[in-house]
Symmetry: D2
Subunit: 132 residues, 4 copies
């Protein structure tokens, strides 16, 4: 399952080169993953309340085209890998048919000390699997 | 040659988990590369004035440890690859001896249309080479 | 005439106190003024192309209530004062019936050197007047 | 007593107009107030641990001159008003002798529900008074 999340680029997200600053893409990706977790029914607040967290361990991002103020962008997020402790979500930022950026984000389930732990059954949502 | 750039984490750079937001690291890396270019004597303003730009094509970042408000971080930047058109800079974000994050950033020299071009001699700074 | 612009608070806009960082409200207000100018048909790009700018000279903002991740906020913007060179726009950030923040923003029309100038007729949009 | 805090403008803090974005000034002011509290020996972490907070109720800021990438800015912060529950801190952002922006920030001491409360004796630091 893939989740889609759309945003319109805001004026202040553009830097002095006139296009969206590279770091802002990570904000878009973060928000899109949050929406992805909501879409698959992963209860993030319950996980936090139970003392767990989802730690982002690695981001690979390829910047393909600049984005500009007012652009309508869609971020498509879906799982491509899943283990007992961690997984990988692939994300694409698109402007219509054009690929603006592509990313792979590795996450790990962690306990309250930030140490990776097996995902407890109650949080092991099938939507985190590439082929559920 | 490697360049070092130090910053102290500011309150507003921390997110609701109490540590530096993942996207903020890309800001640190961007600023550190800017300082690296200054340190090797690359004249970025002259390159811009001549109609060129340095486009960031890819970022790989491994988040190793969270960083917190008030942390003193040092970002060490140095070239690890260099071609006729593009190159790779490795960057480490350290808190004393600890590695907070490591990154590899691929850049490309571009013309005013954003198309990759051979780096003109006057901008082909030896400091961009891993082994000058 | 008043313009309305709605946003949903994003995760990364919240700081370590768990609510929207004070500076982020200024981003919301900036974006909402941009939408206000579009709504009244003020051609900002043409003004820029003609060498003019709209400089924000003063912001007064009263923070009434904290805002949280996921909150749907509406920013209502309308002129309350207008002179030959400058004016004031009042803005309210609302969450349903609740006032989250209220602001008054003083703008000035400036030339390419940043010096205040009388607004040229072609840019003196009646929508900038409180009582057009 | 006034506290001084200096920063150098970073590349990503500049927006598409090539100068520091208006919202970023609020980040600078926030960080400078944090340094001011440290300088007067106000124990903010202890206040938080005791269930209190310092809520920013109002900001007035006058933007006098644009600031640019690489500018060295000094923010000077000092109290100008103090009551039983709240107070006002004046802040100036300077570039050498030039005033870049001036602000007045109203704060209120709040309990864990965000309701204003008399500052308890142990947190009623004399450095919060204009004339201690």
């Amino acid at each position: 399952m893939k989740a889609e999340f759309s945003i319109t680029v805001r004026t202040y997200e553009c830097d002095s080169y006139g296009h969206v600053n590279n770091a802002v893409y990570l904000h878009y990706l973060e928000q899109a993953r949050y929406e992805f977790l909501k879409a698959i029914g992963f209860d993030y607040d319950a996980a936090l309340a139970a003392g767990y967290g989802v730690y982002i361990a690695r981001v690979e991002i390829d910047y393909k085209r600049p984005a500009f103020n007012g652009d309508r962008l869609t971020i498509i997020s879906g799982p491509v890998k899943k283990g007992a402790v961690s997984g990988v979500i692939a994300q694409e930022i698109r402007r219509g048919e054009e690929l603006v950026a592509g990313a792979k984000v590795t996450w790990a389930f962690v306990d309250r000390n930030g140490a990776p732990v097996r995902i407890p059954k109650e949080f092991d949502n099938p939507g985190l699997e590439p082929n559920p």
